[in-house]
Symmetry: D3
Subunit: 262 residues, 6 copies
């Protein structure tokens, strides 16, 4: 039976994914599991902005997306990161086509509420599912760069987690995978520090409040939670470095931490 899944990869995770990850992906495609990938690209964008000498303001930790910054965001996401993933997938033997949310108006968008402050950042208004299904129907894994576009043709920088959640929800996918560089959410139980197999959003908030989740782990779990929207009921945080991680997450169970709505 055909099985679809949506996977989100952060920009800093992507560069470090081992060849085994892509071989695992190919194995899934052969077993008629159909993946859709939505990717970020933060570090490569920052690096290119620096090299081009474009200064960008930060508002509450978010980069303000001016028109000049947006040009670079699109160029790096759609022209560099997107094609790099497509080539890595193809090198494993699987077939893939990369798209930007602008292509065929794949990701419809509108300005976020505080766009006056942070510039051309968008919320997803609709997903052109027909294109994704068309590409899958032709036998290719769609790889999507999170740029949105509105009716007037204005582009927007879309948070990769938000975009992945919207794509998954519109495709009717209930369980998403978020690929990171940590094995899951950890807790000390009976003096042993260990990975939690399942946790609710509410428990996560309690663990952040108590200090059990701290430091750099906080934005990671928050990003994962952001994927849970619409039809998406749960998100599995996994470590992309771990051999066979996708097969284990999609076909088996007991890897990473499943975050569930309630």
């Amino acid at each position: 039976m055909e099985q679809r899944f949506v996977m989100k990869c952060g920009g800093s995770t992507l560069a470090a994914l081992p060849a085994s990850f892509f071989e695992d992906l190919k194995g899934l495609q052969e077993r008629d599991v159909k993946p859709v990938i939505v990717h970020g690209g933060g570090p490569a964008i920052s690096e290119t902005l620096t090299k081009l000498g474009i200064e960008s303001e930060f508002v509450n930790g978010l980069r303000k997306t001016s028109d000049e910054v947006l040009d670079v965001v699109e160029m790096v996401l759609a022209g560099r990161i997107n094609k790099e993933i497509v080539r890595k997938i193809q090198q494993s033997g699987a077939k893939s086509i990369g798209l930007s949310g602008v292509d065929g108006k794949l990701i419809g968008a509108k300005p976020v509420a505080n766009s006056a402050e942070i510039g051309f950042v968008g919320d997803v208004t609709d997903v052109n599912v027909a294109i994704i299904e068309g590409i899958m129907g032709m036998g290719y894994i769609p790889v999507i760069a999170p740029i949105g576009i509105d009716a007037a043709g204005q582009r927007y920088n879309i948070n990769a987690d938000t975009a992945a959640g919207a794509v998954a929800s519109q495709l009717g996918v209930e369980r998403m995978i978020v690929v990171t560089d940590v094995p899951g959410i950890m807790k000390t139980i009976d003096g042993v520090k260990q990975v939690l197999p399942i946790v609710t959003v509410e428990e996560i908030n309690a663990m952040i409040a108590s200090g059990e989740i701290y430091g750099g782990m906080i934005p990671k779990v928050r990003a994962a939670i952001q994927c849970i929207q619409g039809n998406v009921r749960e998100v599995i945080i996994v470590n992309g470095d771990e051999p066979g991680v996708l097969s284990k997450a999609v076909l088996e169970s007991g890897i990473g931490t499943r975050i569930v709505q309630a």
Copy 2:
């Protein structure tokens, strides 16, 4: 009756194309004429290389494509120029999806004969026509960035004229359109300087030898001739600035200069 055509746009031409050009394109799509666009991007690539401080060697007037240069070529062609064309087409109301020759191994390639000298520049070995037809079948105008890929996953910079000719030939298209910033090839007849309606490749070579074609016009006609290969029998040089130019070239006749094989 469905009618296909392949159009090639140079990088310096693209930036200056007026809105009327894209409206004309939309009119064609509505009349069931199916365009495929292959584009260049030279000036934007040079500009980005300069901004990034990447020096590139020139060999006989051709930029040597090192790995570092290739990264920029792909990023600018597939992430900036390609998406800019897609957006301009969509703004006219037509539907479009942009692809790189790497996506789905659309443009198979191998190193050119003098690759030792000029780096990762490629010749086209095959075109994955199924993808182009799939995209057209879904109702979208394919816009193709001329990056090629070989079996080992190595990318190549492909001359846009060569790529356009190969795509047209594999699609079985006999007449291509090359969009430029000149009205065609000119000649003084009876004291009046005028645009030639039709000319053979042989006549062009004679006009270059006699000085009737001179200066910056020489590379333009040479580029057009390069499109004539395989099934492609003739190429029309037109001025993209001219209102209604595509309709006139595809549906009527008497615009620009038709270059024919013999």
Copy 3:
């Protein structure tokens, strides 16, 4: 009989002028025809600003000339483009001396009306003709960079067309030559697209309104019209690429398009 003429070359035209152009110029000097050249330099200025990382604002398509931008404009116009033309002329065997409008207060200037918006851009108030005639009297072709200066010693960026028209008018020259990369103004007559030999300013405005002159040709004819001022009665638009173009324009007739006042 001594014959003077003033010629204006745009910055993008200059880089592409063939050796034949300068040999033609030398032939004229030998026949006691005395040329004065006023040049632009836009693309080289933009390129240098980019390389130096100086961002410049655009107001209605015009670059705002801040003090920092003006330093670069002067350095590139007077130190690079001006000397490059002098060397090319000398390489043909003719004799030439390059000057900036600042030298000997050659081009007196005042701020333009909207200088608050666009910075140090100037209108010409007077031309120190004695210097131009002194240089010509010594047997050298004057090549002039369009920088102006006011009584207080402030420099101004002057539009090259305006400067060329003012220099020609003060020298009492009635017919100027504007060197471009197009063969003249084109019109379709009896189904044949051809170069118009003569046209009035009024007819040009009508052709722009009707769409017969379109796209990139519009700024070219507008620049030429800007040269018609004071004693200057007509301007010939020619293609600098064309062999023997200057001799044909100055001594014969029937090349390019003559634009006349009425």
Copy 4:
């Protein structure tokens, strides 16, 4: 009783250390525990090299340290990272003085065996312990940038792990702390993924071979092992993000993973 410890912080870890880390450090100083800090600075060095447009070659994944690169390495390590740590320590109320290995010839060095390939990279030949003890005796926490110097006055880039191990060994310290962004070394035991409290170097090598330690964890444990030299018998890998981590590592036990020689 006075107790000394040596702590090594990698460059990417440092930027992210929370205020709690430095308060913990101050608490230790008040309890007469005397810390010595040796730091890295890789990402800030790379960022500054990029901003300065200095290209650096990589040999087997190591940056070749040319004279030009060494100037930046010293400037960033001794002038930026070192002083940033000193200020963060002082902001917690503790007292600190920063030194480079060049100051008072604190870190004597010689070229590494393959210096022909990788440039000015050094091995430690001796540590001027008197300076470290002098600074500690005056009541300040020494913070050391790993630049070495030989008898001829030549500087060398020293690996921070090697430098930290040498400093600890010469101070007669047996247990070092390596601050990272992971909780320790993990293993799945009885289906639960957990942090190992203690592990030998030999066991680590077996876990790398078996794939239990994979990906980005491999360089982290290798760096920790590099600290074990001379008098240093064991190294504790801890997560600097974790509240109270230093006190727990120095005064208690049961945090992170202890790596022991045999």
Copy 5:
């Protein structure tokens, strides 16, 4: 008998100091004369700001010290110039340790009166003499970069002359040496232009008013006068290029110009 002296070197002077200067310094250390060095770094800071593309505003000839500029000031002063001096001293055989005013809060500071205009520039509030004496007691020449810090941990850019005067005054040193590239203050007496051996501050002001001190000499004498504060009663301006200049200034007399308070 132990003898201390404080010496101030400007940034442009430092780069040009000959080896003989440092050998002279070593000779003094061997005769139990204890130097303390405070240094500037203007030209190297300007050069690095330029290379990094950081533009900085000037207010009344003073560079406005924004947070971004301050990062570079600290990095260059404490990481490059400071360590370069330490290495040059060590190469002569003397022993030296470099410090920033931030280390151990060596230079306490507060914002200057017009800090709203010129940013993070500071006045010295106190000098942690114990650290300087501790370093001297260990047998090392302290070399101090003039960065100050306030109780809240904010850094300030301190004028090197002000810093040197404050350090000397707090150490109870009455005579300071200012190393420059001129032989002293000159005056024409009986038709012979000669170096004045001694001059009062009042006489200097008169010589500036009369034009006897003019041009680039004015800021040099003003900088020297700025060192006279608190316990410091006089300053000797010497030329660092002159062989044996420090010994002559400290142990003998009759070199350079002594500027005295009254």
Copy 6:
């Protein structure tokens, strides 16, 4: 009686010349003293090369002049420094025209003996005196940028001292003025350090050997000596900062140090 003099200004001196210097120059022009100025531009060239990211090799302390470096040398000397001097002269009320040695082939040149090592650096072969006299005859002060050109049209970077000496010699001028930032050559006589009024080249060499001339003064006197060639018999080193310095040097005597051939 008309009196001509040739003056050489180094690049670092120029930026600092006070307004009084140019007023003095104007006073001379009014008294029918005709100056010719040859200028350098080292620091501005270095600064622009740095800003443009062009690295240049140094051979024995001389910058190797590649084609890319030469482009910048010409642009800065002829387009920036030259015009800045012209404007400063005009601001004083005097009249001036700036020229490059390329204009009218003013400075004929050939490659130096070691051009293989140091690139496009030239020796002067001849000076087109007629142009200088023509400009002076028109009432303007010629300001000359030291770029040379050979018969084939190749440009060369010419040392400003060599160029100034050649121009003076060809104009039949016996005494040149070299403007610097020092009052002349100093010597201690009877315990008083004073400026020597006159000195021979031989005595200078002896003072360098004995250490009486040391450090940064050595290149200054060597540059001045380089001006003594052909008809030039002596050179006066003066401080451009000193009020009325040119009048004193040209019309009176007893300022600076006169260097005489024997």
